[in-house]
Structures are given as structure tokens and as C-alpha cells.
Amino acid sequence: MANEKQRSPRRYGRLVMAVWLLAVACVNFVPRQGWDQDTGPVVPHDSFPADCSLCHVGGDWHTIKPDFVYDHEAETGVPLDGAHENAACLLCHNDRGPVAQYAARGCGGCHADPHLTRLGANCSDCHEERSWYPRAAIAEHDRTRFPLIGAHAAVACFRCHAGAEVGNFAGAPADCRDCHGADYARTAVPNHTAVGFSRQCRECHLPTGWQPARFDHPGSFPLSLGHGGLTCAACHTTPNVFTGLSSDCATCHTDEYTAAMDPSHPAAGFDLQCEACHDTRTFSRALWQHPAGFELTFGHAGRNCGECHTGQVYVGTQSDCASCHLPEFQAATAPPHVSLGFSQDCEQCHDTRSWGSGNWDHQFPINGGDHGGLDCFDCHNNPANRQLFSCIDCHEHTESQTNDDHDEVTGYTYTTAGCYSCHPTGDN
């Protein structure tokens, strides 16, 4: 370091000396420019008409006639557009030097470059000739490292380019944080700084607005479905503490668990692991599977738990049909289950789709043929016991006729049991 400090002044000393020598050489050996009496008026008149009065008012060469008109494009081939249309001739044609020398440099020949040559020589890429106001600045910004999409279109230039008003656009960084550092710092919900959120705003936010934010929550707890769109504070209730929060459902959903009445989860002794029955879409529809052996299919599906588990008692509920359906059994009239002595095991005749007509399989065919269309009581004609039936009481054949038909049948008796033993399906 010490050596550098020693060398540095020496180096600059040599530089200054070289510049000084060059200056001395120029001063002494190169002739200086000077006033030329033949320079003529400020504007060279070599090619002008001889009639001075065409342009000048009499008596004052410095004043152009008020009605003077000059078609610059027609006369010189150089159109004067925008503000140049009405500019005074001497603004360009003066004795700074030949106008061609300045025209060769384009706009920069006459106009000082507030951008310090950083943006090139094509001023008209951005500026209007009339007012210098940037043309289509928002659209043209697409070519830069930071297209003005979304909310950025309406933001004043000076908001990002602090030196915009003096033409200083250089070196403006294009990272979100460069302009939005203050937004990041002041955001309290959640406190981005405290949490240590990424400073790349685009990782969570769209350029169309801060909300909604799309935070990439840890994979162990994806913010899907019902957890999407929530404010951070809905779960992370301790201000600006976003670590150490358990992912157990009960951490946040104890209130819902306690308040659930159908079924009453505490009363039912349900597990606090909500995901055992629910997904994150909604609590109103549980995905719980009823224990095997009593699947909640068809008519049992979608029922309120309390319809079966009365009194908020969910354990010890009998799974036999009559435990719930005894009233229906007793009220059934077609056929009257009770009087017919039907089994209370409903599933012998019914499934859980609907009570319907039942699908009991009559042992003796009554769905067609000679015995189709009979009323139950035509056969089961003993009011004391409807399980009993009679073949001879309703049969169209009389005993004499039947006896004649069976005179060659050994062991024939004219009794119901006799009929059924030989004709279990009613066929001849």
C-alpha cells in the first residue's frame, strides 16, 4: 500500500508533465486560428440571390423581413421538422463553424447531450423534434432490461430514474429490489425483512400488483385449495414469526374441531388429525370412511351422522337394520312386514339404495305363470300366522278333481304339504 501511495503521485506527475509539454508545443509551434476579414457575414451568402431586400429589411442587416419565407427543404434538401420549422436561422447558421460540420454530427452538432453520449447519437429514436418530449417511452421501454409491464406503465419516470429530469438514465439497475427496497422494508404483514423473504419480488408478486402474492410455501405444507389465498397472519398469528409453526391441523383448526356439531367431534372422540377425514378444500365435506362392515353406500351416504348416532353417541351404535329402521319395518303395509312375520334383517329383502319393493326372492314362483298376480293373502290366508300358506284353499281345483288327477299317484294326499312336496315350483 505504501508503495502504491508513493507511485501514484509520480504517475500523475508524469501525466501532468506530458499534458503541459503538449500544451507548450501547441502554443509555440502550431499557428492559432484567427479572425478572417473575408469570413463575411455570419451566414455565408455565396449562394444567395443578389437582392438583399428579399430577406433583409432596409437599414438593418440583422433583421430579417417579417414576411420572409424560405423553403429550406426545397432550397437545400434538408427538411426542417418540428421546432426547427420556426427556428431562427442563426441558431444553426452562425460562426461557430461551417454548418456542414455540425450537421454531420446530427442532433449533437447543435444540441448539447445531457445523456453525456451514453445513449448514442440517434436522438430521434426517443425524442420528438417539436418538444423533446420522449416519444412512446413506455412502448420503447420494451427494448430495455426492464419492460414497463403491469403497474409500471403509469409510474412516473423519476420514480425509478432519479435523474430522469436531467437526462440521467445511466446505470439504473433492473432488479425489483432496487426500486422496491422501501416497499419491502415497510411491509408489515408479513414483515418481509424479519421473515427473510427473498428480495426478488417477482418470486411472489406479479407486476400487475402486490396482491395476490404467490408465495412458494414449503413443500411440507403446500398452500393448496382452502389454504390458498389466505393472509400469512391467518396461520402465523405471532407477528412476524413464521418459523416453528406446527403443521398439525389442530394448531389452527381447534376451533373448528370444537365447534363441529355434526358430528360433534369431541363427543365422538374424533382424532385431531383433521386430514384423516377432511382435505383442504372445505370442512363441510368430510372424506371419512365409515368403518368397514357398514359402508355408507347409497341411501346411507350423505346422511347426517346424528340420524343414526343419536344423542351424539358414536360408539356402540348397533349396525343391525332395525336399530334405525324399525319404524319403517313396522309401518310397512305392502306387505305388512310385521304381520307377515318378516325378518327384521332388512337386507334380506332390501339394499341401501331405496326401500322400493324389495328384492326378496319368493321361494315359490309368483312372478308369472299360473301363480302370478296373486295377492299375498290368497295363499297366506291364516291371519294367525302369515308365514303359513295353503295350496288347497285357493286352488282352483276342487278336491274331487285333484283326487281324480292323482289317482295313480302313490302317497297322494289332498293337503298343502302334499301339493308342495311334489310341486315346489307350482308346475305340473
Binding site: L22, G34, A172, P207, T208
Partner: protein, 546 residues
């Protein structure tokens, strides 16, 4: 009878070969000193010495004598003691119409030999009329002249998506003026400054309002003329010789040598490149040399050096180089570069040399077609001076932006023009490309009207997608109206939820209204709408030149 006939024939013959007099109406176009200028000259056969009768309104007839002539005007002297007739005074000149015989006689007259010319005249173009040499006035001999402009500008931007709104208001008014020879020593005094107020009204954030008055330029320059052997400027100004160093509060001198060499230097403080123009923290010296080969600037080159101190501590050591080469009227090649020299006290860059900025531009510009390529390289220099906002150590250490732009245009007819353009950028963390093609046709509905359509596509690190724009421009008298519609469909990539596509539309209108020759008023408005966007901007610009 016969004798009379002979006499009459002789009279007719004489009359036919003798000059004829004719009375021609003239008018005074200017009056100064003891002379009046007439709107006719040799075109009506007026000759030096002719007398012209003038009839000034409200006064008696006066007689003036023609002293000098051009083809279409004449200068005539008014008799001493007679008041000058006003411009517009009518008169009559009795002129002699030259006959063919006289013309032949004059043409055959021998011309005496002119004595040798002693004055060296500049070479004369035989295609141009031969003029009486004119003589210029030195700057200090010229009258004081003030030129400049005053402007006022206002803009209101509002973003009103959903229920939130953001407003940005900016108002500016300023003056820029050049005064020539105010002190009678041929100097030029330049002053430019403005006052501005801006307001930022954002939801959930305290409103911001600030006013700034600033002086952009305030300098007096001597020897600004191209021929002046010495030029000197003092005050606040932008160095015309080394603009790369920015605004200077100080002084600069330039020595101009024959052959196009200029050498100079300056010293002073460097105001910060922000609207407040804070000055005083950074001071320095600079020197330069530049060379221009000829009037067309076929070749020009400049080199400069700057040394600055920030609050007393050494800061920037900068070399600047600039060159222009125009091998023909159509071609131009430009380049300028900044090289920073770092010493051991620069903690981030360390000791060394760095090409901080480089810009090269090649242009071809013919009558009906042109093309150009521009490439640039930019790095953030290590400065103690506050020159760049949002500057981080990482950016200073490794930040760099490279750009290249290619464009071409073709005018197949005076009405039609076609343009294409491609841009590419690359920095440490992103890169992008954009291309566009456009067609414009002029004088569609009326002279000065035009229609243009363009299509573009950009592929950036933030967004990518196609777009199109159409505009219509029409003149109504001196006023110019321009309507533009733009459509842009862009996809945001690398979002946590995957790519998302948005559509933006914008419509804008602007009216430029010249009022007289000195006043211009522009109004403009633009509205953006589409997916997630609802914003507008309205503004005006007014400028009065004097």
C-alpha cells in the same frame, strides 16, 4: 402631299430606331439613412442616375435619384433635408426602353482594360451568381441578441386497478436563454433553469411532495466562434469539448489551432446528475485535445483526462476517447469510450484499469435507405461520488450491461417507408432480445397525414411476447393530431405458480398546436388497460420561443 408622306415615313423610321420612354410604377420596400429601396431595378430598365418621383401619403411629391441597382431592386438617395418616405410609398419612374439598335451598339462598344485585381477573392463557383463581397462583423460589433424559450410541462399518471390507486404528478416550468454580446465584448451568456414540483400519492403510504428549483446552465463564454483562437467559458455549463464528464461549475479554456486541433482544459466542481444538482462535494480538473480534419468532419478524434476529488479524497481518474470517421457522405463510424484507472484505494475494483463505458455506432445513410449498428458496454465504476442510484457493492464489483442494436430503413417511394430493428441486451443475471418491423405511409388523406403500423416481439427475462401498434396522424391546419393503439400479449415466466399470460392494450392521443410562430402547445393522453391493468396518463407541454 408627297412631301408630307415622305416626312411622315422618315418620322416613323426614326421613331422605330430611337429609344422609347415609359412610365413604370414602383414602390418603396425599405427606407434607411438617406436611402430608399425600390421594388424594381434593371428588370424595368432602371439605370443609375435615373430620377424617380415618389408620392408619400400626406406629403408632397419628392424626387429621388437611383444610386445602385440589382436586377429586381434599386437604392435611391433622398435629397438632403427631405423626410424619408415610409415603406409602401408608391412612385413613378420614367425609364427608357432600350432599342435593338442601342443594345447592339452597346454590345459592340469596346471595354477598357481593367486594372489588375489586387484583392484575393475566395474561389468562385461559376454556377452561382457573382456577388458583391460582403464583410462580416466581429462578434463585439454585433447588436445584443436574446434568444431562448420558456416552457411549462405537466403530467398526471394514475394507476387505478381494483380499489387501490397510485397518482404521480409532475409540473415543470423553466427558461433557457442565450444572450449574445450583452456586455459588448462578443461574449455569449447562457442561462437555463427550471422549477418543478412533483407529488406521489400512493395508497397506504404517506404522500410525498417536493419542489425543486434548479439551475442547469449559467455561464458566460468568450470566443465561441469557430475561428476564435481562444475560447473561454466560466460558470455552470456542459463542456462542449468533453461532454462525457458532465456538468461543470467552473471554467474551461480552449486554444484553437490551424489544421483543426484544439487543446484545452478546465477545473471546477461537478454537480450531481440529479435534479437537485448538488454541487461542491466533487471537484476536479480535466484536459482534452481534439482534432477535426475538415468541414465535413471526415475524421475527428478527441481524448481527455479527468481527475476528481470527493470531499477532499481522491476519487476518479478517467480517460475519455472519442472518434468519428466519415469515409463518405453515407457512412459514419462513431465510437467513444471511458476508461477508469483504479488505484489501491479503490476497495472493490482494486488496482487496475477498466473499460467502463464503450459505445460504437456504424451508420449508413443513403437517400432512400439506411442502416445502423450500435453496440455498447457499460459497467458501474467505483466512485465515492454519488452518481448512480441503488448502487450495491456487488453491482460495482461484477455488474456489466452489454447491448447491441441493429436497424435498417428503406423508403421505396417518397410516401412509403419501412423500418426494422433488433435489440439485444445481456447483463449478469438476464438477457433479452426484441425485434420490430414497421411501415409508414405519408400523405394518405391529406398532406401531412400519415399511417403507420408495426409489429414487435420481445423476449426478456421478465416477460416475453408479441405485440402490434398502429397510429394515425392527421393535420388540421397547423394542428397535428396523432392517435395510437397498441396491443401486447406477454407471458411472465419463472413464477412460482408457473407461466402466466397477460394482455395489455393502450390507446393514446396527442395534439400539437402551434399558435403563431413562437408558441407551441401539445396535449397528450394515454390509457392502458387489459389484464390486471387500468391506468392513464395525461399531460401537456407548452413552449414559447423568443
Amino acid at each position: 402631299m408627297v412631301a408630307f408622306a415622305r416626312f411622315a415615313s422618315v418620322l416613323l423610321l426614326v421613331a422605330s430606331v430611337m429609344a422609347q420612354e415609359k412610365v413604370v410604377a414602383v414602390q418603396v420596400t425599405a427606407a434607411t439613412g438617406t436611402s430608399v429601396y425600390l421594388n424594381h431595378g434593371r428588370d424595368i430598365s432602371l439605370q443609375v442616375g435615373d430620377r424617380v418621383a415618389l408620392f408619400p401619403p400626406g406629403a408632397g411629391q419628392i424626387e429621388v435619384v437611383v444610386r445602385s441597382l440589382s436586377h429586381t431592386s434599386a437604392r435611391a438617395e433622398v435629397p438632403p433635408g427631405v423626410a424619408l418616405p415610409p415603406v409602401g410609398t408608391r412612385g413613378e419612374a420614367t425609364v427608357v426602353i432600350e432599342t435593338a439598335t442601342e443594345r447592339r451598339s452597346r454590345q459592340q462598344r469596346t471595354v477598357p482594360e481593367h486594372p489588375p485585381w489586387t484583392r484575393q477573392l475566395t474561389p468562385h463557383d461559376p454556377q452561382q451568381p457573382l456577388l458583391v463581397p460582403t464583410f462580416g462583423q466581429r462578434p463585439e460589433e454585433r447588436p445584443m441578441h436574446i434568444r431562448g424559450r420558456w416552457f411549462a410541462f405537466g403530467q398526471w399518471n394514475r394507476d387505478q386497478r381494483d380499489s387501490a390507486s397510485s397518482d404521480y404528478l409532475l409540473g415543470r416550468t423553466g427558461l433557457r436563454s442565450d444572450v449574445q454580446n450583452a456586455f459588448g465584448v462578443g461574449e455569449r451568456t447562457r442561462i437555463a433553469g427550471e422549477f418543478r414540483e412533483r407529488r406521489i400519492l400512493l395508497d397506504d403510504v404517506r404522500d410525498e411532495t417536493d419542489q425543486t428549483a434548479r439551475l442547469d446552465l449559467a455561464s458566460v463564454a468568450f470566443g465561441t466562434e469557430g475561428y476564435a483562437p481562444v475560447g473561454f467559458e466560466v460558470g455552470r455549463f456542459l463542456s462542449p469539448h468533453l461532454p462525457e464528464i458532465g456538468l461543470l461549475d467552473g471554467a474551461e479554456v480552449v486554444l484553437r489551432y490551424q489544421g483543426g486541433v484544439r487543446v484545452g482544459g478546465g477545473a471546477g466542481a461537478y454537480p450531481r446528475p440529479f435534479p437537485a444538482r448538488d454541487s461542491g462535494d466533487d471537484v476536479g480538473v480535466h484536459a482534452f485535445i481534439d482534432y477535426t480534419s475538415d468541414e465535413r468532419r471526415s475524421f475527428a478524434a478527441a481524448a481527455g483526462v479527468q481527475k476528481t476529488w470527493h470531499r477532499g479524497a481522491p476519487d476518479r481518474d478517467l480517460l475519455v476517447a472519442r472518434t468519428e470517421w466519415r469515409p463518405s457522405r453515407a457512412w459514419s463510424i462513431l465510437a467513444n469510450a471511458k476508461v477508469d484507472l483504479y488505484s489501491g484505494s479503490d476497495s472493490i475494483k482494486g488496482r487496475g484499469v477498466e473499460l467502463t463505458e464503450l459505445l460504437t455506432q456504424v451508420r449508413y445513410r443513403a437517400k432512400t435507405a439506411g442502416a445502423g449498428v450500435m453496440a455498447s458496454h457499460f459497467t458501474w465504476p467505483e466512485l465515492k461520488r454519488f452518481e448512480y442510484q441503488f448502487l450495491s457493492a456487488e453491482l460495482v464489483a461484477d455488474g456489466a450491461v452489454d447491448r447491441i442494436s441493429v436497424n435498417g430503413w428503406w423508403r421505396p417511394s417518397p410516401k412509403w417507408s419501412l423500418r426494422v430493428r433488433g435489440d439485444r441486451f445481456e447483463d449478469n443475471s438476464r438477457d433479452g432480445t426484441s425485434v420490430s418491423a414497421s411501415a409508414d405511409v405519408r400523405d394518405v388523406f391529406s398532406a401531412g397525414s400519415s399511417i403507420g403500423i408495426s409489429a414487435f416481439r420481445s423476449e426478456g427475462s421478465y416477460s416475453s411476447g408479441p405485440g402490434a401498434r398502429i397510429y394515425l396522424q392527421e393535420r388540421f391546419g397547423a394542428a397535428r393530431v396523432r392517435l395510437t393503439y397498441r396491443w401486447h400479449r406477454y407471458t411472465l415466466d419463472a413464477l412460482v405458480t408457473g407461466d402466466e399470460t397477460f394482455t395489455r392494450q393502450s390507446a393514446s392521443a396527442s395534439v400539437s398546436l402551434p399558435i403563431g410562430e413562437r408558441l407551441d402547445v401539445d396535449f397528450n393522453g394515454e390509457r392502458w388497460f387489459g389484464d390486471g391493468e387500468d391506468a392513464f396518463a395525461v399531460g401537456f407541454y407548452m413552449q414559447w420561443r423568443f
